[in-house]
Symmetry: C2
Subunit: 559 residues, 2 copies
């Protein structure tokens, strides 16, 4: 709908064709079936009617979608949500039901012709240019179309950026698990969070639906409730477990665990550390190991980590070891994670040594419980033994900044540039259809992004070019790029005949994102007071912006 | 799925029947088709397998869903999301595709029998008791089932509470419009936000999809881009407008507007206030009025509110007035809203007086632009003339606190009480199946909520009852209730044969919410340092909790 006049790169969709004119293979619909042409603000329809009434619906217009400020006090943003936008326009078509709802929602004076017109529209005459999804982007350099796109891009980019920031603090070697489903903004918030956290550098999710939809690796074991649902090992009926190689069967795994628990209690390095452990917990761990002998990972903090959870875990793990299975590890969900993880590691080392089980000291330690960038940073500073983090609430709600604030501004109509003025200079839009480039320096780092007019020659490797701040006259610098990357690609050509860039697989987008982040100069990436990355305009575009500005600004009456 | 052992009030779903055994009429599926049995954490399936393997899947267990702390520094929460939970369980059934995905996601050692078992389960043996949706609730008093419910309830309750708080600050007489779609956590976040903000006391939404799904009133007019898409009134081709009563037609509405603009410029009270107004803006307003003569509401801050937007608006409004139409009003989306709204009101009053248009001084003023509780409060303190607020980002993202933190704890299994202990007393769960009552005082305000054991007699009107803090021995008070309200109702009886409470219409839930909030004692409601509302337990339940606590707490070894 917003393909017409409002929210369209190119507005003159033909009313004749019911099919989208996309070249190449068909594009599937949006992941969420609720993403329909009605998922928009009412004023898109009122404005559209007004455009139609004024005969302006065939005018070609250009809109920019961008944000003004990087989130989380940082200097970069991961661009995400493009695929869902393209799927949306590729399948844009209003049903009779939808049209009749719009008819009922608009004043009864609206003319029938408009609703006939709605019936015919699609996005075949729209063109969408965008930076590749998963790219690192900076304020003002995302060009796109359509107001409802904001819904698809705002949160996606925000949470992908949040994930990237968590990865940066955690370090490359840690496993990052997204556990946010239950705290997201409802089902789709949860599914989107899983997708875009993976894109931003997480390794896996607990969200089964997201695993199925997007092929994201799944992780998860058990909760505190699982532990407290057991009373004691006596209630375990099926006690036998076959060895890993199938060569023999242990008929009473429960007794084997008990034997190990006694051995640990009186072993040289661990004597006196614990007394009687919790029996519900022991029963739960044993049952879980019987169900998943190859995937035994236990939550050890339901009662007392060092005096119950860890001894119980080790007893079960050593019993599994007797049968050729290797326990995966433990999870801590409360308490002082730095301290506890070190205590647990010591315990594991003592077991490895006392019982001669090489590798046991490396048993995995996962930490969860309200983690965020700050707590990861604090853990690093304190020293810890955590191998994997499960992060939920703070990650998916973007607690530190819950909205990105993308905007969508008209920059050209009928080949006439449009500028949105504001007393707040950061709110002035950059007019016209533009091209954007990323210029790289000698050391391979990106130096600056530059926007030019559509028909200006592109920056050339080895050629000096003046990069200007769009609004501040005194801020400018010459750059001699060692590499020039054009940022905007055609993801939806409509019927223009231009080649369409294919939508890459999620895994590939994730790889791009990780690679781009690694390429950034470290001072742009640091958590506190990062160096601003500069987004500039060409000298020609600068002059043009300021010419328009003077012409459009209202002239007051002196009184 | 979690209906089995994990996440179930009653766990022994029969594997034979494929139909839910709900009495009464059928319940429609969840609003969002993505709410399927897979919308859950993987560990629900791993635990379920472990329960099945241990033969514990027929044990009956009781789970409590509750939160520990009211959001936004307040002392109340609006309970929301129940309907979607009930729709979810009423239609719970796994497809072959879903089962085969789960099979692929679990270790290959899992036995076939489990997947056969999954095929048969539904929620016919589950029972769900809950406080009515839209009720004002307090920490610890929401009893429900199932972990994925958290996804449906957490954000719903949070955003409904946020909406209620905005309503409280704005006052009853103001119109509150939810404009958050583009800043929500994706499509479903946006749709949920619209539903639950309406429930919490908002009047309308801009979200067309939510309007269609839930019958919420829709509002919206035009954007800044609409204004800048016009160049000048010369481009308006169709200039005629029929009068409101159909008696005559103005052939050149554009000239009529121009005439009025000149009159206003030189009118006694307004002379010298403005010079030439912006012609794009004038063209946009005129076109919008031609399209919607009965619904003319203009965004007046694209250029300069007092020197362009308001004069242009008044010229169009007076031209409409000549033809018998009444303009709806203006919207301010930037600047000092308190100051500007007062200036606009003065302008309207001057127009009403100079041109003898009674009622014009009351033309509506809507304000938007990053509003939240604090800015509404600041506007009230400063004095303003705003009639309606459009609120987006801060409302739907719950900027002030992006997550509620509901939890879901096992409290009973096989008629055995279970308690979750923690060194943090606020994290200790209250064991057993319980009943909850709200006790009202002489003045009609609720005094305290009390939880009792399932089989205790209920509190009686006029009879003194001891209400104890669940964990703090010294906090207790006698209450003589003037009215006793049982809070938990049976919303899903499964096959128990108990009567099921029908799910009310959204409008009725909203009315309940508004009424309940009005009934609260004002000191519980105030924004800063509200008086805590007390949630207590009966003397018997108190004793029982502390008996269990002593028995379950680990006993350390003295060293």
């Amino acid at each position: 709908m917003e393909a017409q006049g409002n929210g369209a790169v190119a507005a003159a969709a033909t009313a004749e064709t019911g099919e989208t004119a996309s070249p190449g293979q068909a594009i599937a619909g949006p992941t969420n079936p609720m993403v329909t042409p009605l998922l928009t603000d009412l004023y898109q329809f009122t404005m559209f009617y007004a455009y139609w009434k004024a005969g302006k619906h065939h005018e070609r217009s250009v809109f920019d979608l961008y944000f003004r400020k990087n989130p989380f006090g940082g200097e970069y943003t991961v661009f995400a949500g493009l695929e869902e936008c393209i799927k949306f326009i590729a399948n844009f078509k209003m049903t009779e039901d939808e049209i009749s709802f719009i008819r009922d929602s608009l004043p009864s004076s609206c003319e029938d012709g408009f609703f006939d017109y709605l019936r015919g529209i699609d996005c075949s005459d729209v063109e969408v240019y965008a930076i590749s999804e998963g790219s690192v982007v900076f304020p003002k350099v995302v060009q796109l179309l359509e107001t409802p796109f904001l819904t698809l891009i705002n949160y996606a980019s925000l949470v992908a950026t949040n994930a990237a920031r968590h990865r940066f603090v955690a370090g490359k070697s840690k496993m990052l698990l997204e556990f946010g489903l239950r705290r997201a903004q409802g089902p789709d918030g949860g599914i989107g969070a899983s997708k875009y956290c993976y894109m931003g550098g997480f390794d896996a999710t607990s969200n089964v639906a997201a695993g199925r939809l997007f092929g994201i690796p799944l992780r998860g074991t058990h909760s505190h409730a699982f532990v407290s649902s057991f009373m004691s090992p006596d209630e375990i009926v099926e006690k036998s477990l076959q060895s890993s190689d199938g060569s023999h069967t242990c008929e009473d795994f429960v007794s084997l665990v008990q034997t190990w628990l006694n051995k640990i209690q009186w072993s040289p390095s661990l004597r006196g550390i614990f007394g009687e452990t919790n029996q519900s917990e022991l029963a739960a761990f044993t049952s879980y190991a019987l169900a998943f002998p190859n995937n035994f990972l236990a939550l050890v903090d339901t009662y007392d980590v060092v005096r119950s959870g860890i001894p119980n875990f080790c007893a079960v793990a050593l019993a599994l070891n007797d049968l050729g299975y290797k326990a995966v590890g433990i999870r801590l969900d409360s308490g002082d994670l730095a301290y506890l993880s070190c205590e647990v590691r010591k315990f594991f080392c003592a077991v490895a040594k006392d019982f001669g089980v090489p590798g046991f000291e490396k048993t995995g330690i996962t930490a969860s419980n309200d983690l965020n960038e700050e707590t990861l940073d604090a853990l690093n500073k304190q020293g810890h033994e955590v191998d994997a983090y499960g992060i939920g609430t703070n990650l998916v709600t973007c607690f530190a900044q819950p909205a990105l604030g993308c905007v969508f501004k008209l920059v050209e109509i009928n080949n006439q540039p449009r500028i949105k003025l504001s007393e707040d200079v950061s709110k002035v839009s950059i007019p016209c259809k533009k091209r954007s480039y990323r210029l790289y320096g000698r050391e391979g780092y990106p130096l600056v992004d530059i926007m030019t007019g559509e028909n200006e020659p592109s920056p050339k490797v080895g050629e000096r070019i003046l990069c200007r701040h769009p609004f501040n006259e005194s801020k400018r610098a010459y750059v001699v790029p060692q590499q020039v990357e054009e940022l905007m690609k055609c993801y939806w050509p409509g019927s223009s005949g231009k080649p369409r860039v294919e939508l890459p697989a999620l895994k590939d987008i994730r790889d791009r994102c990780i690679k781009q982040l690694e390429k950034m100069r470290p001072d742009h990436m640091r958590r506190l007071n990062p160096t601003p990355y500069k987004v500039s305009v060409s000298a020609k575009l600068y002059d043009f912006i300021h010419f328009l500005w003077l012409n459009e600004a209202p002239v007051g009456e002196l009184q």
